[in-house]
């Protein structure tokens, strides 16, 4: 477990957070731009120093203001994945990935294994400029994991790729991170991403934690009586006279919902918006998909 207690003041902005990241799980730091999410990552990684606080990973202390401990980034065993990939442009994909591998023996085998894990076998001699955004981010991820870090920090890693690629990458990231069992702190402001990836979510607003828990507890919670509550993204709005068909994408499935057109305007629903579909369990019909012969 990583425990984080941080305080920092910049002019009028105060960051004051206290939370934990469970070992081997994906924790998402969620909040609007300017809430302090990326600053927290910089403090955890050791790139910046907070005014006060305590950061401990298991029994190791990475930062302790009182005892004047501030381990440099290279001593914190952290893998970092950025939004802009941060691959070395002059190195091939193989060189980029092997850069993260410390052992000299079997380096090539290790690179092959990692590339195959993200479906990039055969791309060893390519340069980053020859890859798509999604492929670059896969390379950035395995380069970070190649170091076998204790903690993986991901700062809005999918915000630079198109929407369709993002969807596919979310699946891949989840699978890869889980298979490595690495403790992960992931920053995003996309609710659908939270539901897809997070074991735990910490909601940050103006430098303070306002909510934390599982995505269900934080976003769906206990406000509505509907048993069916699905978090998704609006991907289509089609007006038909006084009604509107709002298409919501949830877990690779499209749900068409019939809403009063006036309500679409009242809620200011737009394409790309995160929403929750609520439906009563008594309003569904079930059909058997098996065919009896």
């Amino acid at each position: 477990m990583l425990s984080i207690l941080l305080k920092k003041t910049w002019n009028t902005f105060h960051l004051d957070v206290d939370f934990t990241i469970p070992k081997g799980k994906i924790t998402i730091l969620f909040g609007p731009s300017g809430a302090g999410k990326s600053s927290i990552l910089r403090f955890i990684s050791g790139l910046e120093r907070p005014d006060d606080g305590l950061i401990c990973y298991e029994h190791a202390t990475w930062f302790d203001k009182e005892r004047n401990i501030h381990l440099p980034p290279q001593q914190r065993a952290i893998g970092f994945v950025f939004q802009d990939y941060a691959l070395f442009p002059h190195m091939t994909i193989e060189q980029n990935v092997s850069y993260g591998i410390e052992e000299k023996k079997n380096k090539r085998n290790e690179v092959d294994k990692l590339l195959s894990l993200v479906g990039l076998s055969g791309y060893e001699d390519y340069y980053p400029s020859q890859l798509s955004g999604g492929q670059k981010q896969r390379v950035a991820l395995i380069r970070a994991l190649a170091k076998k870090p204790d903690l993986l920090l991901m700062d809005e890693p999918l915000s630079a790729v198109d929407w369709e690629t993002r969807r596919q990458l979310q699946e891949d990231l989840k699978h890869i991170i889980r298979s490595f069992g690495v403790t992960t702190l992931y920053v995003t402001h996309d609710v659908a991403e939270v539901h897809k990836l997070a074991d735990k979510v910490v909601v940050l607003q103006s430098g303070k934690i306002v909510k934390e828990g599982t995505p269900e507890e934080v976003f769906l919670g206990k406000r509505l009586s509907t048993r069916i509550q699905l978090a998704g993204k609006v991907v289509g709005i089609e007006y038909d006279s006084i009604m509107a068909i709002v298409t919501v994408l949830h877990a690779e499935q499209y749900f068409k919902t019939l809403i009063d057109a006036e309500e679409v305007e009242k809620l200011r629903l737009r394409i790309g918006e995160d929403v929750i579909i609520g439906a009563k369990s008594s309003d569904v019909v079930l059909f058997k998909t098996t065919v009896s012969i």
């Binding site: 206990k222 406000r223 509505l224 009586s225 509907t226 048993r227 038909d240 006279s241 006084i242 009604m243 019939l258 009063d260 006036e262 309500e263 009242k266 609520g278 009563k280 369990s281 008594s282 309003d283």
Partner: protein, 136 residues
């Protein structure tokens, strides 16, 4: 349009799987069926204030209603305005100071000869209503 009616829980009748929540919305009693799990997770207690969500497509309208009907929720109202669509129309009606909506077919609207100022009875089954806690 979903209407939000603010009411107070006056009785909770739990069973093994479901709970019938009786709510007083102004002077009108409403009945809502939720699962027992929802009731527990929402922490519903007698005396709590919450919102009852009524979807316009779940509302049935009657004029000069008489006779027996199994639906628990009946609300008397006066038609304020009607928005005509291609196949469906939205009837907005006022009841106890709140505006509610019913989405009905143009055929029904015509057959029932519903117009502004008409008295109507809105009917909704207990299983169709949704409860919401907290802010609007």
């Amino acid at each position: 349009m979903a209407s939000k009616l603010k009411g107070k829980i006056i009785k909770i009748l739990p069973s093994k799987v479901h709970a019938q929540i009786q709510i007083l919305w102004k002077n009108t009693p409403l009945s809502v069926i939720v699962t027992k799990a929802s009731c527990e997770e929402m922490g519903l207690r007698e005396g709590d204030f919450l919102y009852v969500l009524v979807k316009g497509t779940d509302v049935m309208l009657a004029k000069s209603f008489s006779g027996k009907l199994s639906a628990r929720n009946r609300v008397e109202g006066t038609v304020q305005h009607i928005v005509h669509g291609d196949v469906l129309s939205k009837v907005a009606f006022e009841s106890q100071g709140d505006l509610l909506y019913a989405i009905i077919t143009n055929m029904s609207l015509k057959e029932m000869d519903i117009g502004e100022g008409d008295k109507v009875t809105a009917i909704v089954k207990s299983t169709e209503l949704i409860l919401m806690k907290g802010e609007e």
